[in-house]
Amino acid sequence: MMLKSLTLLAALTLAPAAHAIEYRSVVPAQSRIGFEFTQMGVKIPGHFKRFTAQMAFDPAKPESAQATLEIDLASIDAGSPEADEESAGKLWFNRTAFPRARFVSSRVRALGNNRFELSGTLTLKGRSRPLTIPVRYVPGKDIAFFDGSFVLKRLDFGIGEGMWADVETVANEVTVKFRIAATGK
């Protein structure tokens, strides 16, 4: 009886360990938050170099996953030094007043095939808007990736006001592409 429960205990603690990894530590060096905007019909890629993220994702219980992401807007590479500088101004991010963008997840829906739908709130330039992001989970040996891409309308957040509100010159749609790398602990 004693032996039996010991084996059971061992089975419970050891066996699932191989599967029940929970991804909790984001690896910034292998993660990337990029975007692409369109200027006079020409696509310009950019990215953010600094961000912090907290997450918890258990492949066995994806619906209880959580993610919070904070982007340091000063770390932007918007394609050229002039654009980086311009983006800080009042008409764009108004970075002195709103230095960071923040996403907080509220719900995860599993779509099957390692695909998920992450819903949450994006706060940018003092405006909070609901956002639903498709995410693909790419399992790996020690590190897993969470990839996705979605289209954001910059004017929903007042990014590019005044003369820049003209979407003929800089399109309203900005494609955000990300890859978040995380390890399980």
Binding site: M40, G41, V42, G79, S80, A83, D166, T169, V170
Partner: protein, 176 residues
């Protein structure tokens, strides 16, 4: 009989001249503007016009290589003959080199060129800040050289036409 360039050569000559007459001042004006939608629009127009020049100049060079230009007047001094060949040769080179450096600079600075917003041109060089700045200076200096040669070219044509009373403007299709 008045010696004339062929009709395609004449059409290309004046089309290219007209486009450069717009692209050049536009280039000078736009690069001093602060960043604004207007500046972005003018940059695009400048690039579209410039690529059109590149295309037409390519055709022009091919046409020139396959067709003999009309002979120069027999009494033209030797040094003027030599100078004319040298300036024309350099002008052909610059008609290609000026827009080419513009295109390459744009690529190196990370801005693809999409001709008239429709035809994407390949980026022949990778994005690279130093290279972009170097190509930018090259574009600028080749333009100043182009301007100097165009002034010389126009002055010489007018001198032959009006002072020596040779039908030089007719050679390039002007007048009867």
């Amino acid at each position: 009989m008045i010696q004339r360039y062929t009709v395609p050569a004449v059409v290309l000559h004046w089309l290219i001249a007209g486009l450069i007459f717009v692209a050049f001042p536009l280039g000078v004006y736009m690069s001093d503007l602060p960043l604004s939608p207007t500046r972005l629009q003018l940059y695009s127009y400048h690039k579209w016009i410039g690529i059109s020049v590149l295309l037409l100049a390519g055709l022009r060079v091919v046409w020139r290589l396959t067709h003999r230009p009309p002979a120069l007047p027999g009494d033209l001094p030797r040094w003027q003959r030599a100078a004319s060949h040298a300036v024309h040769g350099l002008l052909y080179l610059l008609l290609l080199a000026v827009p080419l450096t513009g295109w390459l600079m744009s690529s190196a600075k990370g801005f693809q060129t999409v001709w008239f917003g429709v035809l994407p041109l390949p980026d022949l060089v990778e994005k690279n800040r130093e290279l972009g700045d170097a190509l930018g200076s090259a574009h600028q200096w080749l333009n100043y050289l182009l301007l100097a040669l165009v002034i010389l070219h126009v002055a010489a044509a007018l001198k032959h036409h009006f002072f020596e009373r040779q039908p030089f403007l007719q050679r390039m299709g002007l007048g009867k």
